[in-house]
Amino acid sequence: MERDGFPRLAKLKDGSSVEISLASAADGPALLDFYRSLSDEDRLVLKDDVTTPGWLARFLAKLEAGAATSLVARADGRICGEATLHRNLHGWSRHVGEIRLSVASDRRGKGLGYALAAGVVKLAVDLGLEKMVAQLVESQAAARKTFERLGFRKEAKLARQVTDIRGAKRDLFIYANDVSHIWAAMEALVEDFRPHEGQ
């Protein structure tokens, strides 16, 4: 069933197509397979150990509760990329969403990461979120470029925050995209006070 414009086909730079759809509980096993197929180095930059059934159960519970919204990309019958919008439904950061993105190594450099991230940004705006953040390690140059193209800017640097697979300490960057101005324009539009009009 179509919802929020998904599923949709995304054409990649190499001419191939992937189907991007909203993730549901039915995608659980395929998601686990996808994350288990990532290299140790790739998984190191992820916040959770995404290879365990326990992680999957928590993730699906967040999807069910609306605290996470996920897009999955499929090609040749398997998941080849995933992007999730995490948000707090309560508390002082309820206007903020965090985007996490993973793409299979054989699909990188083809625009899939951009397509997934752009889809999640659109979902976030539709959900009324005002700010999006993404945490990126200094070595993730391609991912940083992708988010910059989507309007994200470096907002903070946490020095030596990440230990990579070889034990080296890396800086962690917080990228942010404030989209509150979009809705500020709508707020102005519904003010109902327009003495300058009709003159």
């Binding site: 705006v125 979009i182 109902d192 006070f193 009709g198 003159q199």
Partner: protein, 231 residues
């Protein structure tokens, strides 16, 4: 404060200075009367006569935008004529606010609403102020968490309520309350085609907000259609 009606625009494009604009009559537009007419879309070029609409509520609810979208849908995207007059209180927020919209097949000589056929109400004050002017067989569309109508309307008047505020909040933004009401207007009255109203919404809302506004429109539209559909 009542804004002056602007001069008729030279082209069918919207005149944003108070008047929505009057498009030359054409046979391409939708529109086909209002009321509980089932689920059919307004037919091509069908007669709608002159329909007077009053949208009333409080400043900050998007009353003027709601009226403007109805007018644009009629004049620009349905080939009808439309006129909009806005009235608002001295404060930007919270004071009484209303829009007078006239949608007609023929040129509109007198742009003020005298006896509304349809009221779209988002506050109890607006209900109290405008229902005495409603035609005996008129239609009241109201936000049912903000307006109480029980026992306060003549039996000949039809009234339909919608929890538009709740719908807007469920969609993520209370701000789109007026767009839910606009969709409800389109669905419950069948006066204008939903395609025309959708185009008018897209033409009116800021870039980046289109998707949520269209969801809000369709939420209200579907609710309106379901309410007036024959059992």
């Amino acid at each position: 404060m009542v804004s002056r009606v602007g001069s008729p625009p030279a082209s069918p494009a919207a005149d944003h200075r108070g008047r929505v604009g009057e498009a030359e009559r054409s046979e391409r537009g939708g529109g086909g009367g209002w009321g509980a007419e089932g689920r059919s879309e307004p037919s091509q070029g069908s007669h709608i006569g002159r329909t007077e609409i009053r949208v009333g509520g409080l400043g900050g609810q998007g009353i003027i935008l709601c009226g403007s979208i109805i007018g644009k849908a009629a004049a620009i995207y349905s080939g009808r004529h439309a006129a909009l007059i806005q009235a608002f209180g001295p404060e930007a927020r919270g004071s009484a606010c209303s829009a007078q919209v006239i949608v007609a097949d023929e040129a509109i000589g007198y742009p003020y609403v005298r006896r509304p056929d349809i009221l779209v109400l988002l506050s109890q004050d607006a209900f109290a102020q405008f229902t005495p002017q409603l035609k005996p067989d008129g239609l009241v569309l109201y936000e049912n968490e903000l307006v109480q109508v029980e026992g306060k309307l003549p039996a000949t008047v039809r009234a339909f309520g919608i929890p538009a505020t709740r719908f807007a909040e469920e969609l993520g933004r209370r701000l789109v309350l007026n767009i839910v009401m606009t969709g409800f207007f389109a669905g419950a009255t069948n006066l204008l085609s939903i395609d025309a109203v959708e185009k008018a919404v897209l033409d009116s809302v800021p870039k980046g907000t289109e998707s949520l506004n269209l969801k809000a429109l369709m939420k209200g539209y579907q609710y309106g259609r379901d309410l007036v559909a024959p059992a």
